[in-house]
Amino acid sequence: MSDTDATGRISTSSPVTPPAPTATPPDGMRRIRMPQRLRNLEFWLLLMACFINASAIVLVQLGALGRIDTQLVLLGAGLSVLVFGLHIVMRFVARDADPFLLPIATVLNGLGIAQIYRIDIAFGDSGWESASVRQIAWSAIAIIAAIGTMLLIRNHRVLFRYTYLSGLIAIVLLLLPLVPGLGQEINGARVWISFGSFATFQPGEIAKIALAVFFAGYLVRNRDSLSMVGTKFLGMRFPRARDLGPLLIVWALSMAVIVFQRDLGTALLYFGLFLVMLYVATSRLSWVVLGLSLFLAGALIASQTLDYVHARFENWLVPFSDARYDADPGGSYQLVQGLFGLANGGLIGTGWGRGSPDITPVPQSDYIIASLGEELGLAGLFAIFALYVLLVARGFRIGFAGQDDFGKLLGVGLAFVVALQVFIVVGGVTRVIPLTGLTTPFLAAGGSSLIANWIIVALLLRLSDTVRNHPRLVIDG
């Protein structure tokens, strides 16, 4: 076994690893210039990631066009330069950050761009009209936002001070699409705001980060009353009625999202995030039981009273009935075409650019998983899921290794929000749960989602750097 592990700690050469370069070392400690093993590992993984992304675009062109067009390859190369820019920034400001998050996010982003580009070819879009060029531009903005986050937030505990402010920001962002004139309704859901005709933005995506910060700060401050007291019933300790307030407020918030913004997925995402963070903070199963029954009751009532929710449930249960398939607004046509696409892909897929994902409506955003599944097959789809698993597992690991309670909760919350979002989208496309409109993190076309997820990656990187910057002492018996 080598003398370092993946966490980059040297266990044999020096008894005390040096603290952060910014901190002045106390007397009696030597400051050693360590080779940046973690960053070097990241560099090689990033090279591989960029190679995967470039070959995906080239394969799309070979499969769909039969020739290589250098223009988009060059645009993709520009993105690689930015990713390496983030890598170099981390060499200076976050030397001990996790080396796996950045390459994984890069590959996911690149696969998304390649698939969106393939759909553009099928639709005959090019230039600024095409979703892929816009996706590359948004990716560039998102990576720059991530670099900005790394530079701006040097210690995640700063966020703890702004707990209630971020709660307020989350609420404001959620309410923005409801403002007349600013908000825009697309396909029935009112979750976008538009700046003229050139760009739309989904503020709810950014709100999930603010909510994670708020929940983490709030729970660290208040979890004693939420976890210690209560009566025991059915082998579980249930909270007192007066401690139910926060749960009920978040529940009401997600129900309001379902009713007013007509967005089932976002509601599920926020509520699930709160429940999991509550569970991690208090380690009491009764919160999960209470919360899930509240949400299921709400969803059932919504499915009976709200037409669009009812249609979603019907599509989920009987998608192949003629009546559902032919129903024009809100029928199961999209769902069924997505399933046909996945079936057409089979085990190894039709090959980049050689399937027909363009039959499914919106194959580049909500249904990008079905498009990728058709062209890369089960083997490729499972590779994508494995990447998500690794990304989320690193996030949990960072939370687990954290030294302060706020950092622990924030790490778990940010990682879980990615996991839950992937589950909601993929579960919807594969008919495990009713289909709801959420973006697949990093893959789907959409600027707000990209920015939010890259900021999540930047925050997790920052957390992991702080975790490892702690002075450590290793005693081998």
Binding site: D5, P15, G351, L387, L473, G477
Partner: protein
Amino acid sequence: MSELTLLVLQLGFLLLLWVFIFAIVYALRSDLFGQRVRKLQTDGTGATPPGGFAAAPVKAAAAAGGAGAAGAAGAAASGSSDSPSKLVITSGQKAGTEFPLGRDEITIGRSSDSAIIIRDDYTSTHHARMMLWNGRWMIQDLDSTNGTFLDGARVTAPVPIPLGATIKVGATTFELRR
């Protein structure tokens, strides 16, 4: 471009994707399977690898919930010359080594997450932790198999650590100094 070439290229791409995933998994293998311990384990309960997303440490931390903020404020307020500034190892492998005390809690154990990692036969994965509570350093035993001793007495509940008192974890003893 023939069908066969495209098929081979497609297979090559999928292979590349999986090679990337396994490269990552290989690089973090010690996180998945735990760090290798030098000697044979006699301590059965502590043998769980540090991986696995357990809620237990978070729950344990709940006992001192908000201690981070409250303790930090307390330390700033007291700030007297009485507060210890370092931890000194007095016996064991690294006798004489000093460890700076900040304001963050210090975890002790065999797990690679710990601030002070003691890898010997007597230390549990998460053995004990020290935290600043109202300006005083406290020690808490985290249900370790072989116990934590403060001046020879086994620590059962969190207790404050006087300056110069001997704390024993496994085969290592240390004390707090100004």
